[in-house]
Amino acid sequence: MTAPQLPLSELEEAYRRMLTIRLFEDRARREFGKGDMPGFVHSYAGAEAIAAGVCAHLGDADMITSTHRGHGHCLAKGVDIVPMVAELYGRANGLCKGRGGSMHIADFSKGMLGANAIVAGGVGIAVGAALAARTLGDGRVAATFFGDGATSQGVLHESMNLASIWRLPVVFVCENNGWAESTPAAYAVSVPQVSVRAAGYSMPGTTVDASDYEAVHEAARAAVDRARRGEGPSFIEATYSRIGGHYAGDPEGYRSRDDRRAARDADVIARTAAVLAGRGSDSAAITAEVERDVVARLDEAFAAARASAWPDAEGADRYVYSN
C-alpha cells in the first residue's frame, strides 16, 4: 500500500519539524558529551517521522504518552525548547522544575503526559487518558509511543485488550528500531511483524517504514480518524533504524557495522529532503533556513539553561503530595 502524496507545503512543514527534532537531538548528544548534563539522554534521531507523523493529527487537547526517548515527542507536540533544555539540566525553570529530567520530561499544557523511564510505562496511561476522553465525551484522542522492546511487557497486552473491549480513542504506536538496548528484536520478539498481534485484539494493525514520512502520516491519519469517530483503537508499527546508540555515549560494540551503516542509509531526513527536491521543492533552502533558525534557538536555550538557577535544595521533597 503506497500512501497518497501530501500537498507539498504539508510535507515541507513536516520536514521542518523533523529537522528541528534532529538538530535538537544532535545538539543534546553533543552537549551531553561535555559532562555537565546530569543523568542519561536517549536520542530520537532516526525516528523523527513517527512523532511528527502521528502528532500532525493531534491538537493541544489530545494526549500522548512517551518513552525514555521522549524529546522528539515533546517537540512534535509543540513543547517549547527553552524549558525543555532547562529540564535536561535539572534547573528550577525546567518543565518539571528539575524533578524529572530527560526521562520524565512532560508538558501537560501541550498534552504531553510525560516521558516514562519504565519500558511500556506510558502505554496504560494513554489507555486511561482515552477512557477519560470517552467518559467525558470531549472528543480527545490519545496516542502512545513505545519501542519494540516494550512489546514484551505484559501491560501492553492488557492495555490493548482494554482499549479494544471499550473501543477507546487511542492509537498504539510501536517504534520498532530492531533493538532494545543490546538485544535484537529478531531475538526477543517472537513474531517477525509485531503488527500481526493486533488481530489478537480485533484491532487494525499495520507496519510502515518510518523513513517514509508520508507512510507514517497516512497510517496515523487512518488511526486517529478511527479513534475520533469512536470506532476504537489501532496499532501502528513504524520501523526505523536507531542512530547514535541506545543512549548518548553508547559505543554500540554489540551491533554489527552493517547494521549501523543501514541506519545511516535509511535516514528519514535525507530521504525526505530528496523527495521534496524531486517534487520541485527547494529543500536545500528550507534546510538552511531551519538550521539557521533552530541552531540559534538551541544556542540560546543551552546557554540559558546553563545559566539558570538550580532548584532550592530545601524543597527537595516538594510536589510529593498535593497538600
Binding site: 520524565h104 512532560a106 496504560g124 492495555s159 485488550n161 482494554l162 510536589y319 498535593s322
Partner: protein, 348 residues
C-alpha cells in the same frame, strides 16, 4: 457486632461497614460525574442480559446496585488485568476523571505494583507538580477466611513505604464512610484498605456528615494505663482486648490508626506519652511493618518517657497458612494484645 466510633452525632444511624462504603461511593458519584468505578466483577454481570438482582457487585457486594443508577459508563467491569486497569486508572486520573478502582484483594495488588509505585505515586513529583493523580485503589485485606497464602495479605506496610501514596485503613463504619469520601475528594492517589472481617460489622454513622480528614487518629476508647493503637481490624481486636483488660483492672485507651500516611505522629506521641505505655497492633508480617515504623517513631520521641518497651503485635513473619489452627496461631489475636498490654504493665 456494634463498635464504638469517635464521631457519634445526633443524626447517627446504625449501618454496616459495607453499607457505609456504598453510601460514600453513592454520595461522591452523585456529587461529581467525574467519579467512575472500575474493577473485576464490580458490576458483576449487570448489563449483560441476566437479571440485575443476580449481579455480583464486587466480591463482597460493596458496589452492588451502583450500575443501575450510574450505568456502564461509570461502573465498569474489567478483565483480570490488575496492571492494565491500574495504569488506566492513573491515566484517567491524569486526564480529568476521579476513578475509584477495586483491585479485589490486596494480595493481587503486587500485579499492579509498578503502576502503583512507579506511576501513580511518582507522577506528581516527577512532573514538578504539573499534574495531580486523584485516584483511589480499594482493596479487601486480611486473613481469617481460610483463604490461604495468596488471598490474605494486608500489605499495609508495603503501601506505607511508598512515598507519594496516601494509605487509609478504616476500622469502623463511620471511618469507612468518612475516609472513603475523603479519599475520593483527595487529589493524591489513595490506597484504601478494607479488612474482610469488617464488612459485616456495624456501628453508628452520621449519614449527613461530610468527609473525615485524612491524617487523623480515631479514638475508639479512652483509657489511662496503656495506649493501644491498631490498624483496621486490629483496632477492633484492641477494643476487645481493652474489655478483657478492664476486667483485670487495667484501663486501656484504644486508637484506630486509620490514616497510615499521612500519620498523626504528634497525636500518637501525645496519647502514648500520657499513659506512658504503648502497644501497636497490625495484621501483617513482622519485618519492616507499620508496627515497627510507628514504634520507632514514637519510641524516639518518647525516649526516656515511657514506662515499658513498646509492644508490637503482628502476624508471624510467614505467609498466611490455610489450616484454621495454623491461621489462628499466625494472626494477631485478642489474647496476644492482652498479653502485650499486660507486659507493658510489668505483668505476665
Amino acid at each position: 457486632m456494634s463498635t464504638a466510633t469517635d464521631r457519634t452525632a445526633a443524626g447517627a444511624v446504625e449501618m454496616t461497614f459495607l453499607d457505609a462504603l456504598k453510601d460514600a461511593l453513592l454520595t461522591c458519584m452523585r456529587a461529581d460525574s467525574r467519579v467512575v468505578l472500575l474493577g473485576e466483577d464490580i458490576a458483576g454481570g449487570a448489563g449483560q442480559g441476566a437479571p440485575l438482582e443476580g449481579a455480583m457487585g464486587g466480591t463482597f457486594g460493596v458496589t452492588k446496585g451502583l450500575f443501575e443508577e450510574f450505568g456502564p459508563r461509570r461502573v465498569l467491569d474489567t478483565p483480570i488485568s490488575e496492571a492494565g486497569i491500574t495504569a488506566a486508572t492513573v491515566g484517567a486520573a491524569m486526564a480529568g476523571l476521579r476513578p475509584v478502582t477495586d483491585l479485589m484483594w490486596a494480595a493481587f495488588a503486587p500485579k499492579a505494583f509498578d503502576e502503583i509505585v512507579n506511576q501513580a505515586a511518582k507522577m506528581r513529583f516527577m512532573s514538578g507538580g504539573q499534574v495531580s493523580v486523584p485516584m483511589v485503589l480499594r482493596m479487601a485485606v486480611g486473613g481469617g477466611l481460610r483463604a490461604a497464602a495468596q488471598h490474605s495479605d494486608t500489605h499495609y506496610a508495603m503501601f506505607t513505604n511508598v512515598p507519594g501514596l496516601k494509605v487509609v485503613a478504616p476500622a469502623t463504619p463511620a471511618e469507612a464512610r468518612g475516609l472513603l469520601m475523603a479519599s475520593i475528594l483527595d487529589d493524591d492517589p489513595v490506597v484504601f484498605l478494607e479488612h474482610m472481617a469488617l464488612y459485616t460489622t456495624s456501628g453508628a454513622v452520621d449519614a449527613a456528615a461530610g468527609p473525615m480528614r485524612l491524617g487523623e487518629l480515631g479514638v475508639l476508647r479512652d483509657g489511662s494505663d496503656v495506649t493501644i493503637a491498631g490498624v483496621g481490624h486490629s483496632a477492633l481486636m484492641a477494643l476487645e482486648a481493652a474489655a478483657v483488660l478492664e476486667a483485670e483492672g487495667i484501663s486501656a485507651e484504644v486508637l484506630s490508626l486509620r490514616s497510615l500516611q499521612p500519620l498523626d505522629l504528634d497525636g500518637l506521641v501525645a496519647r502514648a506519652g500520657a499513659t506512658g505505655r504503648f502497644v501497636v497492633v497490625e495484621e501483617g508480617p513482622a519485618r519492616c511493618s507499620v508496627a515497627s515504623d510507628v514504634a520507632a517513631q514514637v519510641g524516639e520521641r518518647l525516649f526516656g518517657a515511657l514506662k515499658a518497651p513498646i509492644g508490637r503485635v503482628t502476624s508471624n513473619h510467614s505467609p498466611v497458612p490455610f489450616s484454621p489452627p495454623l491461621e489462628d496461631a499466625h494472626l494477631p489475636s485478642v489474647e496476644k494484645v492482652v498479653t502485650a498490654a499486660k507486659r507493658t504493665m510489668g505483668l505476665g
